[in-house]
Structures are given as C-alpha cells and as structure tokens.
C-alpha cells in the first residue's frame, strides 16, 4: 500500500524505535510542555541556548510514531540554529504539513523534514507532528523570559 510507505516511512519508524536526544537536559535554560487533549499525548522539550544559539535540545514523552519521530528529527535539526532560524524553520515546517507550502526538494532546511511532507494528506495527524514544535516555540519563549528577568 503506497499510503503506508508514504506516511510510515522507514526514517519515521527508525526515529520512533530509537528516538534521538531523548531524555531530560540537566543544564537546560528553557523548558516547555506540549499537551494534546484529543489524544492525551504529552511531550516536554528541554532547551539550552547560549548567545542566541541553540546548543542542545532534548525531549521526553510518549506519543504515536508520528509525534515521536517528529520530536526526534526536530531535535536533530535544531542544534546550532539561532533562535530566529528556529522560528523560521518551524513556520516552514508548519506550512508544509498543513499543505500551505509545496515541498521544495532544493530547500536544504526542508530536506531533513521531508519525511513529513505528505502529512497534509492526513489532516487529523498533523497535530501529532506539530505538537513538539509548539512546545519548542514555548520553550524558546520560556528561555527568552528567563533572560529578560535577569
């Protein structure tokens, strides 16, 4: 079935089996939790930034294969990015999975997120993939607030 290989690509299944950057981050300076009341899934994102650059990011939580793989791939993609770059990547990712942006194979940013480009055909599953990104954005805010109060 082509649908299964579209949605449940080997890359996604691999990240689901062996999620990268999984666990708590001891020296995090930003943290946020994402909760999807529809399915009960919860994910926590830990963030460590220095001089406006993401040094490390990890996640914790139990979810479906789409959400776990999305979290795992996101953490890999975000390391070394500036906060603005991270926000811009999220905007692109969001537009891609909601079908507002065509996948552009030449866009280096989107290449590592390519496995999700057919997700827009499964609208009920889009939130599975974006939940962790929303948590990341909240963690960026959390970190920004922590700085602003210093």
């Amino acid at each position: 079935m082509s649908f299964l290989s579209d949605l449940y690509q080997e890359v996604i299944l691999d990240h689901n089996r062996r999620p990268r950057n999984f666990g708590e981050l001891n020296d995090a300076n930003g943290m946020a939790e994402g909760f999807n009341p529809l399915c009960g899934d919860k994910v926590k994102v830990y963030l460590k930034t220095e001089n406006g650059v993401i040094q490390d990011v990890t996640f914790q939580g139990a979810g479906c294969a789409i959400s776990t793989a999305s979290a795992s791939i996101m953490t890999e993609a975000m390391k070394g990015k500036t906060l603005d770059e991270a926000r811009a990547t999220f905007a692109k990712f969001h537009d891609m999975v909601t079908g507002k942006l065509e996948f552009d194979p030449d866009d280096e940013e989107l290449q590592r997120l390519e496995v999700f480009h057919r997700l827009s055909e499964y609208p009920v599953r889009v939130k599975c993939a974006t939940l962790v990104w929303h948590a990341l954005m909240a963690a960026l805010e959390d970190q920004a607030q922590a700085i602003s109060t210093e």
Binding site: C39, V124, R125
Partner: protein, 424 residues
Amino acid sequence: MGNAMQEYLPEQDKLSGPRAFDVESVRRDFPILAERVHGKPLIYLDNAATTQKPRSVIESISRFYESQNSNVHRGVHYLSQTATEAFEGSRRKIQRFLNARSSSEIIFVRGATEAINLVAQSYGRDRVGPGDEILISAMEHHSNIVPWQILCQQTGASLKVIPMNDDGELLLDEFDKLVGPKTRLLSVIYVSNSLGTVNLVSEMIELAHSRGVPVMLDAAQAMPHLSVDVQKLDVDFLALSGHKVFGPTGIGVLFGKADLLESMSPYQGGGDMISSVTFEKTTYNTLPYKFEAGTPNIAGAIGLGVAVDYVSEIGFDQIEAYEGELLSYATSALSEIPEVKIIGNAKEKASVVSFALEGIHPHDIGTILDQAGVAIRTGHHCAQPVMAFYGVPATARASLAFYNTAWEIDALVGAIHSVLKVFR
C-alpha cells in the same frame, strides 16, 4: 500489504446458533453500511461513539421537514397539531421503551450529558450542601464526572469514587462502605463506553435505596445493547442519548421518577416551560414541560421514536444473543494475536473491545486500520481516569452493534496484522 489488506466481502456468516436473526437483511436497513472508504467497504466498528441510522429514522426526519414542520404546543393550525402529535407520540414510544409509568417522566434533552447536568443542577443544588457526598465510579465517562465536580464546587460537597479491579469490574465491597449517611446521590455508568463492563446496577440500586440514597444511571451506552426497564430497576433518574441507540444526534432523554421531578426547580427558564408569566411572578408548567424550555429538537425527537421502534421490532432477546456471539468471536480472534492486550475483561460485558498493541500507539493503529476501511475509535474515550488506571494514554476500541458481522471482525484482525507488519 499481502492478504491483510484484501477486501473482506460478506460470505457465509461464521456465527452459529439460532438463525432467526438475519444480519445481512438488517444491514440493508442501514444505507451507510454500503459506503466505501479509501476504496474499501466500510467496516464500522465505532458504535460506542455513535451508531448508524436505519433508513426509517432518516426518512422520518425528512418527512417531518417536508410535510409536518411546525412548532409544537402552540399553533391551532393543522401543521402545528400534526407536529405536536408526532412529538408527543414519540415521547409515549420512549415511555414504553423504558417502561416508565407515565410519559410525563420522559424529558427531552440534547443528550445524556445534558440529562446529567440537569439533575446535578436542578436536583443537586437544592439538596446538596457542605460536607455532603456524591458517589460515582472509577469508570465514568467525563459526562458523569464533570457535572458533579461543578456541583461540588458550588455546594462544598465532595466527590467519592467507587474503585474497580484490573478486569474493569466495580468493587462492590468498597461500594458498600462508600454509601453512608453523607451520600446524597449515586450516579453510575450502566455500561462502560471504554471497557464494555455491564455494571451490576440492580444490586447497586437496591443497596443505595436501603440507605435512602437515590440513584442516577448513565445509560447512554446500555441502550443499544440491553433492554432497560426503569420500573424493574427502580432507578430514580436515567440518562440516554438518541444517537447511541440508532437515532439522531442532538436529542436525548432524562427519565426521572415523577415525584422527584415535581419537587425539583426548573433547569432553564424560557418559553414552553411556563403556565403563566407576569413581571412579578411566573408559574411553571407541569411535567414534562417544566424542564423543556424553548423550542425542542422536534425532528430529533420524532427520529428517536422511530429508532426505538426499530430496535423494539428486532427485539433485545435477539440483539443480546447475537451481540454475545459477536463479542466472544471478536474476543477470541483478537486474543489469538500475541501482541494484543485486551483492556477490560469483566464477566458481564457488552460488545465493546478495548485493546492495546505492545509498543504501538493507538493513533498509529487507527490510521492504518482506516486505510483498510475499518473505523475504530482511538484515544481516551472521554474517560481519562480509566486510562490513568491502566497506565495507558489511550486505547484502540472496537465497539460492535447488531449489524456487525464475523467477516468484519476478520477484516479487523487482518488490518491489525498489517499494523504489526509496518511496525515490525
């Protein structure tokens, strides 16, 4: 995906036993069962979320709007009388269906949720105070938790919960200890939507009554599976949803014993629930109208009357016998898959099978099954405390109605195998 995704077509039915019940003929009464999903025949196993509607119900709704539409209880004109007769006729059908003493004990509401909120606010607020207790169970749907939490916040009462065992059966010894002098009401789910458990409500009502505690039953999930007799049960209040018993959405019923309903304050104020209004004083209407403010869901009520006619025509003897066979067929077919863990193994069960697949999230199961045309529910089933009890965020649930078949169970099993193949 190999044979797992093959089309399952009706064949000789595998269930044995008396064949007075002709499932293929029943299926023809439900137009939607002929639909195809993703190019496959629809296999609808999400009946605990909502049931499908027989043609007679669908036609009664269009007939109402095409030739009878008018407001009820008001006009002297022909149409208004026709509509009122159809609406009140439906109330009497439901009275007979539940074996209530009088049709004035049948209050039309939006659904079981509204029925429970009505009792919490109209009965509860007048009678419940600080230090009092409301008793519910560990397997309630959110609709039988939250209205009582709101009442407790308003009155200073507290919520007590009857625990259950790992099979999903309420602990009646613990229940016995929880019914005390502070208990003002027991409100319990008759059939669990998430586990399928049929609670031993007769025994529970008897014990509660012996201590002067009135009982409300959330029968939303019981109605499509069991014959419910409110006089035999001696239940004080009972809530049901039309759409879970092959009727339309947006219509439901609160049954209440007349003396209790008489003694209660109105739930909402407005038209139809009054006998006279001046700016100084309003006199409320008699039962059941006192609790039916505003223009009701007339077409919905009529459709629900036709739905209970349909179910009565088949008869619960046949429905219970057939669904019993279907449940044991499904339970043994699913149990043969080593990765499947069935959640909820009560001795008394309706045809609902909740399950988990080792290491695979229910949403992934649901998406892959959907591609095979198999509709099941995945999630917390509006029963998050039940999920917390079993330590799972969600389950997959196949809930069966009398129009489901053994070949549909086979298709479910086949689709589960393809889920396992993807995640191997």
